[in-house]
């Protein structure tokens, strides 16, 4: 048994993607944060973009499409759905030169932590309303050019592993270099303990004060759960997500709604 076990697991190796990310850790973690103020011209352009986004807000939508049993079998997941959005692509000219340079210098992706969301937004050079909390900016590249920019933040001051609630906010922008369908992603749920285990799910549509509509998928079992909320605003796809253990589901939904209202 030991022999065949060893020979089997000798063939399980860290994939090349993971190796690349690990090799980038020293450079990524040492790189100083470059801060840049947005110029007046950019601000004016940004304001127009923001106004356009608001005016058209109602036309953007999110669709949740459940997997068929056949599709589920292909993935090996226990439960799955696909999120489809009509988020627009962002032209490369909308980003700062620093952001474009950072992406160009990265092999696959570039990541930097910032003290605030606003600083990360400044660095990116384009308007992405977010939350008041430290943020991480991740730029993904394709053929040396920016394909996807994502701002991530955890707005709750509860981040230790023992905490019962975690909330994250991600705002993603896609450029013309992004090869897949922008804003479309699949959610896979693994590890449901047994066939009789029941995970409840409720999909909710949440109307924001200015007419925008977010879709929230709430999943839960006896003592834990998650909420995934999606909102498209022009060229930005927001994903607000919460996971909780021994926490009130209604309270978590309210927290997520509060964040959506303030984006």
């Amino acid at each position: 048994m030991r022999n065949i076990y060893r020979k089997t697991f000798e063939q399980v190796r860290a994939p090349e993607d993971l190796w690349r990310e690990i090799r980038e850790i020293p450079a990524r973690e040492q790189r100083p944060v470059c801060r840049r103020r947005v110029s007046g011209g950019v601000l004016a352009a940004v304001l127009i973009l923001a106004l356009t986004g608001t005016a058209l807000a109602a036309v953007y939508h999110v669709e949740i499409r459940n997997f068929t049993p056949e599709q589920l079998a292909e993935t090996g997941a226990d439960h799955a759905y696909k999120v489809l959005t009509d988020v627009e692509r962002t032209p490369l000219e909308a980003f700062s030169q620093e952001a474009l340079d950072a992406a160009a210098g990265a092999e696959r992706f570039w990541e930097q932590k910032f003290d605030t969301w606003a600083e990360a937004e400044d660095f990116l050079g384009t308007r992405v309303p977010g939350v008041e909390a430290p943020a991480t900016l991740q730029l993904k590249t394709r053929n040396g050019e920016l394909a996807e920019a994502e701002l991530r933040s955890y707005p709750l001051p509860l981040q230790t592993p023992t905490d019962r609630l975690n909330i994250g906010v991600r705002a993603t922008l896609y450029t013309e270099n992004y090869v897949e369908e922008p804003g479309d992603n699949t959610f896979l749920y693994y590890g449901l303990p047994d066939p009789n285990y029941s995970m409840e799910r409720e999909d909710l549509r949440y109307q924001l004060p200015d007419g925008e509509e977010a879709v929230m998928v709430s999943t839960w079992d006896d003592d834990s759960g998650g909420v995934d909320a999606f909102l498209v605003r022009g060229n930005i796809r927001y994903w607000v997500y919460a996971t909780y253990v021994l926490y009130d589901r209604e309270t978590v939904l309210e927290e997520v709604e509060f964040i959506l209202q303030n984006l």
Binding site: A14, D17, E29
Partner: protein
Amino acid sequence: MTERDFTAAAERYLDMVYRLALNCLRVPADAEDAAQTVMLRLWQRAEPFSNDDHLRHWLVRVTLNVCKDAARSPWRRRMVPLEHCREPVFDTPEHQALYAGVMALPAKYRLPLYLYYYEGCTVAEVGELLGLKPSTVQTRLARAREKLKAQLKEE
């Protein structure tokens, strides 16, 4: 930790961290995330390691803790492009079947098996790493072998 030390540690132990995480979490993408978190913690660690054994032991412990955090909820969810739902590929059908059999076992059996058979830990060491009595480790190893044999016979 210097960049050189970090790179050397990654080359020596990244596969181990990844395999251990895969045995804990079962899903390759989750294992990749966990391995990345572990290596980031290694890079951020200020205190030096007294020797290679110390480093290896620390990596195993941190990997188990990171995986425990990731698996707190009875289910886990991931947002991925579909083509990223990949499984390891093996040379022979026997190895593929053994891997599938191991992954079908509950985590409480997979981990002792991996630490004992692959990492060469003694029963006492496996118990210390997993917070189990040696007698419990022995029982789990025996049950894991039985279950695995039964599964492989079924196929």
